[in-house]
């Protein structure tokens, strides 16, 4: 049985490798941030490498490795989905080089204070222009591959729509806005419409593809679910942007529209969990690699808890009035990003990387350790941030104690967070090492009833 049908799928391997390296850098920066909270650093150190610089690296590297994962994943699933090679592997490599060069220059630039000073969108204009070039090359490559394919599928269009939506939204973060409320209004067009719009579409498409390939469930069934899920994601997610507009100086109706629509946002995620579970039950093929399943199921559940439930509680206006801008947001952010997107990327990596090496069934002992350490580690981390956040909210906003005094209580909780973070880093390193050195298992895999290729 062929594991990769098309040679051009190989371009994705470099996307995955670089994404994994950036993942480790992101976690190390996160640990450094927790040290900043947990201890009093000397003024000299704070002057040279302040919290703000570490934070911009932490968050930008997050965005970079997420995008590398999505782009690599798209390049991996596109050829078999379209039944042809990629339009141009050369463009794919050129785009990767431009993207990574811009990202590396940005990180080095941050160390020297070259920044736009806009959280998560700190990359200066010339580098942004490079990112746009890379994005255009990517979209052109994807679009041409789809246009020139004989068979057209809903999944292809969904994927193209998702990545185009993603790129278009990025443009709204680039101008300088004179008015702070307008600045934040469009800032969320990038951040919110990414994570609760475009990225969800890409996620749903990639997960649908992997489920279809691994389970052998009929394409019609999978695509039907895909339509309903993305429809609900976009229906709730677009107006749901309003939950960021409660306190920025915007009209009153945002409270209602934002509150109600963001309360509905867990619905599509529930649907995704149900959908995944149904497909697992109705699968025609035996489970070859349990670890890949751990990740798919883990993704669905973690996505629901971190983004869905945590987000639901935090965005209700009467609660948000107190928790907005506190450590509660940090807790939600970590659980949601890890649950929805870090696990998605790792699912793609565990699906694609062994196949790219010609391995069908792999040794997964180390990978399982990595899975449990990272998922449990991040869950505890989320709880620790959550406790710190509730404490901060209570002290600062209910008892009216000053910010600094309330933040003194952070020191203890961030020492705990630092300890848990070390364990998390160990889990990440184990996972990355396992993915880089994945080996075939000595136990022969069970024969699939429906070969994945038969579903194309």
């Amino acid at each position: 049985m062929m594991l990769i049908e098309y040679q051009s799928q190989r371009v994705s391997l470099w996307y995955f490798r670089l994404a994994l390296v950036l993942f480790i850098l992101q976690v190390i920066m996160g640990l450094w941030l927790s040290i900043n909270y947990a201890f009093t650093l000397p003024q000299e150190l704070v002057n040279v490498f302040p919290f703000s610089t570490a934070r911009e690296i932490h968050t930008n590297v997050l965005v970079a490795w997420m995008l590398l994962g999505f782009m690599g994943g798209t390049y991996y699933i596109l050829p078999p989905e379209c039944g042809r090679e990629l339009y141009s592997p050369k463009i794919a490599y050129a785009q990767l080089i431009i993207f990574v060069a811009a990202a590396v220059t940005a990180v080095v630039g941050f160390l020297f204070g070259w920044t736009r000073g806009k959280p998560l969108l700190e990359i200066p204009f010339p580098l942004n222009a490079l990112i746009v070039v890379a994005a255009l090359l990517f979209i052109a490559n994807v679009a041409m591959t789809i246009i020139e394919s004989k068979e057209k599928s809903a999944l292809q269009w969904m994927l193209l729509g998702g990545v185009t939506f993603l790129a278009v939204m990025y443009l709204f973060g680039m101008p300088f806005y004179k008015n702070l409320n307008t600045d934040y209004y469009y800032w969320w067009w990038v951040i919110h419409l990414w994570v609760e719009g475009a990225w969800e579409v890409v996620t749903a498409s990639i997960v649908a593809y992997i489920i279809m390939r691994v389970t052998g469930v009929d394409r019609k069934v999978v695509e039907k679910w895909l339509y309903v899920e993305t429809g609900l994601f976009l229906f709730t997610g677009i107006v749901g942007t309003g939950h960021h507009y409660y306190w920025i100086g915007a009209p009153d109706y945002w409270i209602w529209w934002g509150g109600i629509f963001s309360a509905l946002e867990p619905l599509p995620i529930v649907l995704m969990v149900v959908d995944t579970w149904m497909h697992v039950r109705e699968r025609k093929n035996p489970i070859v690699n349990p670890l890949t399943w751990y990740y798919i199921i883990g993704l669905a559940i973690y996505h629901l808890v971190g983004a869905g439930l945590w987000g639901f509680m935090h965005t209700l206006p009467p609660i948000n009035y107190y928790t907005h801008g506190s450590q509660v947001t940090v807790s939600h952010g970590h659980l949601a990003f890890f649950g929805a997107y870090a696990l998605l990327n790792l699912t793609i990596f565990y699906f694609a990387m062994p196949r790219l090496k010609g391995i069908n069934k792999y040794q997964d002992r180390l990978g399982k350790w990595g899975f449990w350490i990272t998922t449990i580690g991040m869950f505890i981390l989320g709880l620790v941030f959550g406790i710190a956040g509730i404490l901060q909210t209570y002290l600062e906003r209910f008892l009216d104690i000053g910010y600094s005094t309330a933040h003194l209580t952070m020191m203890f909780w961030f020492r705990v967070a630092f300890g848990v973070g070390l364990v998390f880093l160990a889990g990440v390193i184990i996972t990355v090492y396992h993915l880089f050195t994945i080996k075939p298992s000595s136990i022969p895999p069970p024969e699939p009833v429906v070969t994945p290729a038969a579903n194309i």
Binding site: G117, E122, K178, N179, Y185, Y227, T230, L234, I238, G249
Partner: protein
């Protein structure tokens, strides 16, 4: 459910939501001048916003609740701290936070930039955002009260608002300039000298580190009375 129904759900859901959102965006722009007083959005304020970005303030401080969670929210900072305190903190964080568990980097913000930044924060403080953040609302109210009727204020409250940025009093305020009770017992100034001292410290004590305070002579007089009342009279028992 058929494939056709599923596609219908997708298109109707997405397009309805997008249409509502775009209409709201249009309305947001129509109403923004009212909520943010764009008539007061001067060149100086815009320059201040650029300073805010240039030194990447937003990756430690939140503003309107967004950004880094490492340092206080700056939305109502103008009302919480006042112009002089913001200026002192921005220019001499190492001095202002000498005794603090949390440090702020020495950024090298120039005099002009500091003034621009203050204008920006003043304008942001006036954005009508439903009195958020809740804990800063008292500072906004106190500032407005102080501006309109200084003589009617509770003295302790007034002193803490005006002097608490550097001085402590009964364990409140920032401990940079010393405890007001101790100071009251140490100084030998009369009421008028104390008023002059607040308005222009150098004229009374050349070389002193305290910056000139932006208070009216009436407010300074109220504060002077208050400080002088703190002097504990030594009982002379004969």
């Amino acid at each position: 459910m058929t494939g056709k129904t599923a596609r219908l759900i997708f298109w109707v859901g997405t397009l309805t939501s997008a249409a509502i959102f775009l209409w709201q965006t249009y309305d947001f722009h129509m109403q923004t001048p009212k909520f943010t007083h764009t008539d007061k959005l001067t060149e100086q304020v815009v320059a201040g916003k650029k300073v805010w970005h240039k030194y990447n303030c937003n990756d430690c401080h939140t503003i309107l609740g967004f950004g880094g969670y490492y340092a206080p929210d700056m939305t109502k900072a103008f009302y919480r701290l006042g112009e002089n305190n913001i200026a002192s903190i921005v220019q001499h964080p190492d001095v202002m936070y000498k005794n603090s568990f949390r440090k702020m980097p020495q950024l090298g913000v120039s005099e002009t930039e500091t003034r621009q930044l203050v204008s920006f924060l003043r304008w942001v403080g006036d954005i009508e955002n439903r009195h958020w953040p809740p804990q800063d609302e008292k500072f906004v109210e106190a500032y407005k009260l102080r501006e309109s009727q200084p003589q009617k204020l509770d003295k302790v409250h007034l002193v803490l608002q005006a002097c608490g940025g550097c001085h402590t009093f009964e364990n409140q305020g920032r401990n940079v300039g010393g405890d007001l009770t101790t100071i009251a017992n140490r100084i030998t100034y009369d009421r008028q000298t104390l008023i002059n001292y607040m308005i222009n410290p150098q004229s009374v004590r050349p070389g002193v580190a305290m910056p000139p305070q932006d208070v009216s002579p009436q407010t300074a007089a109220i504060i002077a009375d208050f400080i002088l009342s703190l002097k504990s009279t030594k009982e002379v028992s004969k």
